[in-house]
Amino acid sequence: MRRFSQLAVAVLALLATGIIAAGSLWLGGYDPLVAGAAMFQGSFGSGTAILSVTMVRAVPLIVTGLAVALAFRAGVWNIGAEGQLYAGAIAAAWVGLSWGSAPGWFLTPAALVAALLAGAAWAAIPAFMKVRLGIGEVIPTILMNFVGIYLAAFVVHGPLQENRGVFPQTDPISDAARLSVLVEGTRLHAGFLIALLVGVILWAGLRWTHFGFQARSVGASPDAARVSGMIESKRVLLVVFLSSGAIAGLAGGIEITGVTFALYEGLSPGWGYTAIAVALLAGLHPGWVVFTGLLFGGLEAGAGAMQREAGVPAAWVSAVEALVILFVLAGDQIRRRFGA
């Protein structure tokens, strides 16, 4: 009985979000059907939309989502993927620029490795504060995000600014440093494969390996891990924290070498934060992160199309995006209630 009424509420919430989304568009003078169609067309409606837009947008979300999922599985509340991403982007741009004459087989991996290392280094500060000083990681990671964003702003005005010294951006990295395009004629780049690879590694690592088990144990019950498992949780937490940072840094490196080819201020619209939603919606399961990342990527792609094709202003589009997320959440609750 109770369960049924809960279900009814969830269904109601689902309908309400849909109606409010359509209603507010209509009130603003925009045709909800046209808007909806544009959203679908722009995200999953065509090969180009999927390959060139949705999947490209999904890459940073998937990679940072994986970083967050890994950390959260071990009970490391890394809210700092955003800052780690910036650190990775700075490092990748730096390598791509300063070794511009190196061959591609070396340069691209070098840039990505630099991004990994920089992301780990950025995570090292809050990791150290957690493990050594016992300071909860939530605030330090958030603070490091802001510092990372401003650091990127600083380097494009200072040490890494383009040669002419005019615009706050770096010069474009050399062609050799760029990730190759996966499907000719689209914008889909090899970063998507890297994202999948990271997903598979994490999935298998968490599931099958000894270290992955220790990490999950520390996340599932720190006390049981310490007492029954005799796991050195500090070491485990440190490794997970740094790996998570490294993966988030990789996301920044991929964005530089695969999409923008130069470092700008405001590179990320908050992927590191959206990543938390991506990871949680996936139940922190690396395999599902790929799908939820694509879902959010599609949502953003569709949002752009809604502005262009249906003439809906950005503000309305954000509102609709929000309602879509709530819609998905309500749907997820319904699924669980039916499942139970």
Binding site: R57, A153, V166, T260, A262, L267, G304, P313, A314
Partner: protein
């Protein structure tokens, strides 16, 4: 409707209409820089019957995607209203020769990628003169969003204009790191006012309201301070404290670009929109015009004339590749 249009072209039929798109990196409700561009887009629609579209982008990663979407669906003109679009515009320009990309404040050009340079320095110079004229403390303040060439340009010209009146004038400078945090802009302005500045100019967007509010509060509490508007005619926002505005008439610039596109003259070089084209101007607030002596107004007129005729060179931050910077 995109294929329709290209079909028509392919079949040699007369083109139906101009299709123009606008990309902004912030909301067009800022009553400033982006709002001006949006008004320009609407002007093309209303006066040329153009079909228009707008997208607000958030990150560099979206630039390529937006250009690709517009160009591949047959848009003729894409206005990208910010220097940050230039690299993506160059990439898109190579891929889509039939579309012309206009980058406001851009730094590089090709046949179909056109930087649109607003020579706001001219008006800023005049604003600097006005500021120095009314300042009693000999200290001026400048509040900027992000330190980019257009902002540097206006600030350097403002300083030069002020020094032309009072060589000993001091200028304070602060950046808030974004364009629309009203509270932060207000704090920056207050800090400058507290340190003796009595005229504040800004180069931010919506955040400018914070600058005006700070100045207004000084006046309300019996102090003496002034503000200057930028990018748009902001004189009416706080008519009691804004001396005048360094104005860019963006719609006019857009319209001229569209017209020269239609006549086939657009392309291959940057477009400069300066005082001569009446796109840029310094507009004294009529409500406060009495502050300036007739002599000073005449001096400003004379300087304006000398700038237009080219006999007075205003410091500039040049951002076109290959050009030698001024200042």
């Amino acid at each position: 409707t995109a294929p329709e249009n290209s079909d028509r072209r392919a079949m040699g039929l007369e083109e139906v209409q101009l299709r123009a798109a606008l990309l902004t990196a912030g909301p067009v409700s800022d009553a400033g820089w982006y709002a001006g561009a949006y008004e320009g887009l609407l002007l093309l629609r209303d006066s040329l019957g153009a079909e228009v579209s707008h997208q607000q982008t958030r990150t560099p990663a979206e630039f390529d995607e937006a250009f690709l979407s517009y160009a591949s669906s047959g848009y003729d003109l894409v206005f990208a209203h910010g220097f940050e679009y230039q690299d993506a515009a160059i990439r898109a320009g190579q891929q889509f020769p039939n579309t012309t990309f206009v980058v406001s404040g851009g730094g590089r050009y090709s046949e179909n990628v056109i930087p649109l340079i607003f020579e706001l320095e001219e008006a800023s110079y005049l604003a600097g003169m006005a500021a120095a004229q009314v300042s009693e403390s000999g200290i001026l303040g400048m509040v900027g969003g992000v330190e980019i060439p257009p902002v540097q340009g206006t600030f350097r010209a403002f300083e030069a204009g002020a020094q032309s009146i009072n060589p000993d004038i001091r200028v304070l400078e602060a950046f808030i790191g974004n364009w629309d945090d009203v509270a932060a802009a207000k704090e920056a302005a207050i800090a400058q006012l507290r340190n003796g500045a009595d005229v504040i100019i800004h180069n931010v967007d919506a955040a400018s309201f914070g600058v005006f509010q700070a100045v207004r509060e000084v006046v309300e509490s019996g102090g003496r301070a002034w503000a200057l508007g930028m990018n748009r005619d902001q004189n009416q926002i706080a008519p009691e404290v804004i001396l005048g505005s360094a104005v860019i008439r963006i719609p006019r610039a857009f319209l001229e670009i569209a017209l020269s596109w239609e006549s086939g003259e657009l392309g291959g070089r940057p477009v400069y929109a300066g005082a001569n084209a009446e796109v840029i101007d310094f507009v004294v607030n009529p409500a406060l015009a009495h502050i300036f002596s007739a002599d000073f107004i005449a001096t400003m007129q004379e300087v304006r004339g000398r700038i237009r005729s080219g006999t007075l060179e205003v410091p500039k931050v040049s951002f076109i590749e290959g050009e030698i910077g001024g200042s």
